[in-house]
Amino acid sequence: MLYRTAGQFKTSYQADQALFPIRQDAVLLGIILIFAWAILPLVASEFAYQTLLIPILIYSLAALGLNILTGYAGQLSLGTAAFMGVGAYACYKLVTLFPWMNPIVAILLSGVFSAGVGVLFGIPSLRIKGFYLAIATLAAQFFLVWLFEKWGWLYNYNASGAIQVPNLEMFGVYVAGPQASSVVQYFVVLGVVTLMTLICINLTRGTLGRSWKATRDMDIAAELIGINLMRSKLTAFAISSYVVGVAGALFVFMWRGAAEPNLFDIPLSFRILFIAIIGGLGSVLGNYLGAILIVGLPVVLNTVPEALGLPISSATVEHLNVMIVGSLIVFFLIIEPHGLARLWALIREKLIIWPFPH
């Protein structure tokens, strides 16, 4: 009843191709945006910013980047964390080499570097696919982390070998570094994530997105109907790595505050892959649902039993978390390979005809 689409007629192709052709979808998104931009900042605590809001947004963005490559273009990658690292280190070099640079510009520019590195490591995809390609991207993962450790210039020859985010100002307000407030950082992250999401939605539903999906579904047919597979695959690597790189820069500059090379090691790659799989490969919405689940679950496990008067030790919480996430992945791979996004799509389909299913 609430989701009835009857009576919403499209009289032009432009209306039919609108971002949200169904009115209820647009309203729902509007509510979420108002919630994220206006209501949450009014009520959120410091704890909520640091453990939920900011990480959820950043992880969603990283998963979105991976999803473009794996979910849309069908190229398996295990090097996400390394590409995030490229973004983070590039951003660090940019703000230390050019201190006058606007931090947001630096973050958006740092994606360009990871896009370049992504294309370089994407070249094997022209010859190999599937597991073999995954192994090739694994090489990127190990090589880049090694590089972050060994190439002193990248971390300005710090004795600690880590990068420390300096205080960065924009229009008289600190946006990064120890003096920046969580609210400001939240807004910066939210702004960047909103912009990136919009761009990704547009790219995936347009010409480029179609050529990616065609490459994913049937590469030989795609080539025979006029798609340049090399271009299609390499643009997927470039766009994906760009988004992942921006997520990496946000990860360090807006959330962690400092980073060592091993932060970008393979567990982070897997974490983002899990978010993309649980959320749903080949969907934009899924990344957010997946990130909410993966980031939110440990917080819920930590706080809810305590509130109910059931004291659980933090070690148990850690184990519980791993067990639940593990079983969820198995569950989704077997029952619903398209993830949480597909669950929502099914619910929405039911809602559209509810309560008269005939």
Partner: protein, 288 residues
């Protein structure tokens, strides 16, 4: 051997010249067939020691429905793969629109106006029917990445203009009702039709159909035959098809090439081919 048609058009010594023949002919039902659109000259295809195609020459004229028939393993699909650029011939030349075609990638061939369907359906299962057909128009869409990212300017205009063209094809093939259905949910016959729609959306100069009627029942075959004739009639599209159903081939096509063991054993109008002793032998076997 029935090389008569070829010999009369090009004498042996003129074979290196570009195609200049624009005369064409008139079919029995009064359709005007144009000049030569594509000409294959002495094509040979080898896979290692196996010779799949041996020294075959034939031409495809503008506006014509040209069939390639032959028993299993005769090299028909390999021939189509050569035309669509998936295989590069070991020997021989391919002339297209009056120029010799150099070795090309399949996507470049597609951009020159060669579209095709596949023997085993090769649709993009994860996309809707509309998106599949829109993919057929990718060769006509050139908006830059920035415009696409913002869905503004050229990208948006192109989406709308091409959607209009795609809707014409969807209308034509009567698949309006399944426009937004994911392809994976469709039955076999409809999938074949969507595949034809995707190829047609590219507005090809030459349309290659690899067994468009395979695995269909009589009614579906009749529908598909009607669509093929309508496509040829309304858009004037040149069609080259492979088909096993002899009745369909004889009814639809203007000229037929018959292949057996990689060699051409017949070429000409259906009734002529039907009377050819080599063709009868290949299909029915010979008493030794």
């Amino acid at each position: 051997m029935m090389d008569g048609a070829d010999q009369s058009i090009w004498g042996e010594d003129e074979r290196q010249e570009a195609v200049t023949d624009t005369q064409g002919y008139v079919t029995a039902d009064g359709r005007q067939i144009g000049g030569v659109l594509m000409e294959l000259r002495n094509i040979t295809l080898r896979f290692g020691g196996v010779v799949a195609i041996k020294d075959i020459s034939f031409d495809i004229r503008e506006g014509e429905i040209r069939a390639i028939i032959g028993p299993n393993g005769a090299g028909k699909s390999s021939m189509l793969n050569i035309i669509s650029g998936f295989y590069t011939p070991s020997e021989g030349e391919l002339w297209y629109k009056g120029a010799k075609r150099p070795a090309m990638k399949p996507y470049e061939v597609a951009r020159m106006g060669v579209a095709r369907t596949f023997q085993n359906i090769a649709l993009f299962e994860g996309m809707s029917v509309l998106d599949n057909v829109m993919t057929g128009r990718l060769t006509h869409m050139h908006a830059g990445i920035a415009s696409q990212a913002l869905w503004w300017g050229r990208a948006r205009d192109e989406e709308i203009a091409n959607r209009e063209k795609v809707e014409k094809v969807i209308d034509f093939l009567e698949i309006q009702a399944i426009r937004k259905t994911p392809v994976g949910r469709l039955p076999y016959g409809l999938k074949k039709r969507v595949e034809l729609a995707r190829a047609l959306a590219a507005e090809p100069s030459i349309l290659l159909l690899d067994e468009p009627m395979a695995g269909m029942n009589v009614e579906e075959k009749e529908d598909m035959s009607r669509f093929i004739l309508d496509v040829n009639d309304e858009f004037g599209t040149t069609i080259c098809l492979i088909e096993h159903d002899m009745g369909v081939v004889m009814d639809l096509s203007d000229r037929v090439v018959v292949m057996d063991y990689g060699k051409k054993i017949g070429d000409g109008p259906p009734e002529e081919v039907r009377a050819n002793q080599d063709v009868i032998d290949a299909y029915l076997g010979v008493a030794h």
